[in-house]
Symmetry: C2
Subunit: 215 residues, 2 copies
Amino acid sequence: MLYVPSVSSEPKRKSPNVVWQTGLVLRADRETQRGHRGVALWFTGLSGSGKSTLAGSLERALYLRGCAAYGLDGDNVRHGLCSDLGFSPEDRSENVRRIGEVAKLFVDAGIIVLCAFVSPYRADRDRIRSNMEPGDFVELYVQASLETCLKRDPKGLYKAAAGGQITNMTGLGAPYEPPLNPELTLDTENLAPEVNLAAMLAFLERHGYIAPALR
Amino acid sequence: MLYVPSVSSEPKRKSPNVVWQTGLVLRADRETQRGHRGVALWFTGLSGSGKSTLAGSLERALYLRGCAAYGLDGDNVRHGLCSDLGFSPEDRSENVRRIGEVAKLFVDAGIIVLCAFVSPYRADRDRIRSNMEPGDFVELYVQASLETCLKRDPKGLYKAAAGGQITNMTGLGAPYEPPLNPELTLDTENLAPEVNLAAMLAFLERHGYIAPALR
């Protein structure tokens, strides 16, 4: 498989105020062994836009190519690492911050980590990006109109919000701030899932995150 | 390589109140692909007892065997995920809780995650264990007398504590509670590092976490 060396791990290890006592295996070693780069793929969009579906299909495709990929989402994070947090603006920010830090660890471990979270605030997402090495954070904007998301309502959250059981629902009582310069925009309203999956794989290949598939 | 199936991931996915939308790839799939189990190896002991050294040597040995292993320690956690926490008993507990949750995610990802933290409170460590599936948490007690640790003082922390720059230093101003039933005790005072490394690898082989080495 193609070896895509990471340029970002060595300098970090040499940071003067951080002693990497266990630095016998470097990120680049792990990436060489796996045959692909570590990277955080950050899916952002309204509830019902299709983040989890797209992240799941990409995770499966990457798995079938032999890549080490892992998905983080509300289900395995909100019940655990962030079980102490609610949905106030401050808690949402802290939630996203912690997920960003965990994603950074997975990237350092040489894993392709797929993060599917509404993550409505632009500043929170930009903070994660600026906290990582260039190229380690890839923002994927999962785009669908609020009208379409309301119709899909896969978790019944919009319905619950309309009924008053949920306040501050993103898109209704709380804002959603779309990315200004996402690496990729995935239109789930007009494009079939397979088309979006192909676009994601092509992006990862083109930018050297994964090896090209055998034809 | 030997396939060591994990019995713990399937039932979790079927939990009625957790919807695994992206559950197209299961933990057992990832473990099959890697040829080893995901597991959290938790190194606990006084500062200077040798946690990071042993974890580092094991990480390297696992890497050379082709395993996906990753080390968490104060350097990559305290500056990131837990940068908002100090060293009060409450903050130490929250620090250990978060690391435990991150370790759980790595285990679900099929990674061998090596956690090297003083983690002085028994209740905190036991809470992590009880939050994971049986066999997913392995406690390694890195044992050396306080006298020896004071002499080694690799980070100069004991010296700083003696000088008053650090308060609540574990072993001096703050207690260390050794494990009552650790899976493995590693005596770094009387045994050479190679002996302790061999003991760890033998444990992992014997319990089916990794495949036996080719002889």
